[in-house]
Amino acid sequence: MRRNLLYFAVCGSIAASYLALVFAPPEATMGDLYRILYVHLPAAWICYLAFTLSMICSVLFLMRRESRYDTLAGASAVLGLVFGAVTLVTGSIWAKAAWGTYWNWDPRETTTLVLWVAYLGYIALKLSLENEERKAVIGSVYNILAFVTVPLSYFSLLLFPTLHPQVVSGSGIALSPPMTLALALNVVSATVLFAYLLGAAVTVQSLERRVESLQYLREEGG
């Protein structure tokens, strides 16, 4: 199943890259520079998706006290941080080309940085606690509180005056049909890639727990 996901993600990504770089026409004002959108927007979407999934798993953990939910929450948050970093870096490169500066404290930039730092705190908190039960419970509560930054970042375009363009809004998508097709395929292939990486990250976290418990047993016995 995981291998099939990987094949699908690789094939989808190749097709999506072709659509983004060749098939989609240049944009009227920005020319080819707008093609950064095909990387920046899927990365941002995965970042929001990963943190939302992480928060849902933390809620489920607190309700059911099953460690698999905490494992999934942690794995999803780590991936969200990587995709969040990609979103911030690609956004900065785009900002430098379009606005003349890498960082200008635009509300969207600032709220996304706050979101990223909040989830960095979640991972740091989980790494700093020794006791597994405490780590899971305190981490879950923190995760739910940190999730406030996700809607804050997403709706920052509506809440504050900003230079950041709004591609998807209530009135539809501000792109031509070929651009929309290229963007949709990039978003889908990034989502499949995320699903594959999440499976691998969950496997890593589960193995780490088993190794830690066996090491503990060995130390207790020896």
Partner: protein
């Protein structure tokens, strides 16, 4: 187009790093687990 190239490099390098790191971590942990389970089995005998 330099910016588009740079952004693509950042994106794919990050994903490749994640892919390689996660798969290497799975391999190392699986090997460590086999050693620990072997030790436990020896002790039980």
């Amino acid at each position: 187009m330099l910016e588009v190239f740079l952004v693509s490099v950042v994106y794919w390098a990050s994903l490749l790093f994640l892919f390689v790191w996660l798969n290497r971590r799975v391999q190392r942990l699986t090997a460590r687990l086999a050693v620990l389970e072997g030790d436990n089995a020896d002790r039980d005998e």
